[in-house]
Symmetry: none
Subunit: 191 residues, 4 copies
DNA sequence: GATGAATGAGGTTTCATTCAT
DNA sequence: TATGAATGAAACCTCATTCAT
């Protein structure tokens, strides 16, 4: 019955979908669930998205690329590897606290979207790995497998978010940010 | 004349299901997929499991509890917090390399099974957190939020497995075990 | 300031619709397809037609009746059955070459419209059959079932159009007209 | 409720579907219609056919190829072009009277299936055209465009079936067979 | 015990039509 | 008056589960 109530239907669909995808999983979220959350008919969704699959992919890709670029531009001005790493970790924390649903959608739900990225597309993992590789090259970081080091940093940063999702930790990740930076640096420099 | 071609049908179902759940996700795996993988009819599956849901849950619970106990019994003989933590991390790595599909099923797929555990059931997270809390109490580990510390250890141990799943790291996690122990200890003791 | 960019929107809709109906079928052509082909909005279509169904029917009826009358008036001045038949076949060929889409829409697509014609409405089939019946009465054509004879003529005239649609024959049907007349006469007079 | 009542579900589906496709058109026939006609559930259909589209295509291709071969093998033993043509036309009539629904499905409904045939697959049209081309080569038939001649024969044979479908002619096409043969020969030899 | 056709609820998608703007 | 987002019924299809054989 209500028509044209909100001009930004598309955005509202994306927001609702992301949240549902995180809460229940992509497969477990029906198009009807999304439509209900936005209070439009199921059919109306299809004026904004070609298919459920395309909705997932479009949002994922756009935001994933955007997030990667954001990380990269945070690291760029920094000079030392430590500075770059710290800036990126801060970027993770801020991104999470700004929009926890989106953050978790991008980094946990994924749902096989990762494999659909154009081969060679830069990812947050690459961004972190490259900074570490640079630090190794400049002797700031001891010699080691850069991918393993990147895994350590990723784990240190993401796992608290998972714990937060289960209520084991506060969901204000930014408040732990300095600790995560310190822990990451310790993990990376301890061989 | 053997009634069953394979006497251990039930085990074979579980093994195949776990693998499919990890590869595609639980919702994306159909009962038909599982039946085909085991080369029995769909109907025959229901002689071994009440429902798909029950299959997921039964396997999850049994193995999750088992894994938790294993971790606990590895830690028990150790005296120091560091020794306990190292033993547990070694336990993670061994468990992964013994049966990577099961490991990933328990620790990544989950699919909301975690929330179905009887409240108060011990989990690997609890096991790690308790050891850390003990270390803090005995002053071996500096004062800090034990859940956050547990998150750091979990992240450090699990993220390399994720990277391995994407081909970024070798899937022989045991070979990285000492490094993971060192990194965990560094992360936990650096405040 | 012109209210409409094109004053003949209605005609343009009909033309585009007919072509789409022939190319894809009536059911397979969506209102959106038609709107896009005419470059107007879907809603605007409904200012010109009550419904898709009505669009099909209105165009069909008007043109079918018109085509029938045209055939009849071509035959009327002729005296002999052979002359009448030749004039009508020439009418078919001309009608096709003037507007092949319309011709095929009327004679092939039909889509059950035929059964909606008012009972007793004259059709091209009737026109041909009547001429043949007249020829039989006047002994110009040997005694036979006039409907079967009409079927022969119809088949001889329409099948080349079908072949043309599949690229098996040139779509300039008029160039084959004399041949079709001769063949029809031969078929009708050979018992 | 009823299960396994008839062993030949697949055949029954095909028969019912073909009839519905002819009566209403392919697009206008829903999967539900077919299921109801066979008295099974919609879902059950999908154990026998991958999709509605595949059902249409599978039946069409199998029967179309079969019908073409049948025509060819009827013509083969005959020596003269006239004999071959007569045999084929008799083949058309018999095929129609044996199973009018299938005949009309193959030769009228088509629904764009024709374009999906492997390029170069022999069709009834080719069979007739080849016989005519042979007759022209052997001087039995006067010089002319063999495709046009084939169109004449096709029209003469198929149009009575169309008339029969509309009740204008008896649906016992075999009874008109000799007439159709004579008319075809007259049409083809009259240049 | 095993089989796999059948069920039926529910999911995704399409599309003729309406109507607020 | 034209637009196109929205509706809602209905289409196609999937899949966990049942059950006659």
């Amino acid at each position: 019955m209500p028509r044209h109530r909100f001009p930004n239907t598309r955005e509202r669909i994306e927001k609702a979908a992301i949240r549902l995808f995180v809460e229940r999983g992509v497969a477990e979220t029906t198009v009807r669930d999304i439509a209900r959350a936005v209070d439009i008919s199921e059919g109306a969704l299809y004026r904004h998205f070609v298919s459920k699959d395309e909705l997932v992919w479009r949002v994922f890709e756009r935001e994933y690329v955007h997030f990667t670029e954001r990380l990269e531009s945070l690291a760029r001005p920094e000079v030392t590897a430590r500075g770059k790493l710290a800036a990126m970790i801060r970027g993770f924390c801020l991104a999470h606290d700004e929009d926890p649903w989106l953050f978790r959608f991008l980094l946990f739900v994924q749902h096989g979207q990762l494999t659909r990225l154009a081969p060679g597309s830069p990812t947050p993992v690459d961004a972190v790995r490259d900074v570490i590789a640079g630090g190794i090259a400049s002797k700031e970081i001891p010699e080691q497998h850069p991918d393993l080091a990147a895994a350590l940093v990723f784990g240190i940063v993401l796992q608290p978010v998972t714990f937060a999702a289960y209520g084991r930790l506060s969901s204000a990740v930014t408040s732990m940010c300095d600790r995560l930076i310190a822990a990451s640096w310790a993990a990376v420099t301890t061989v």
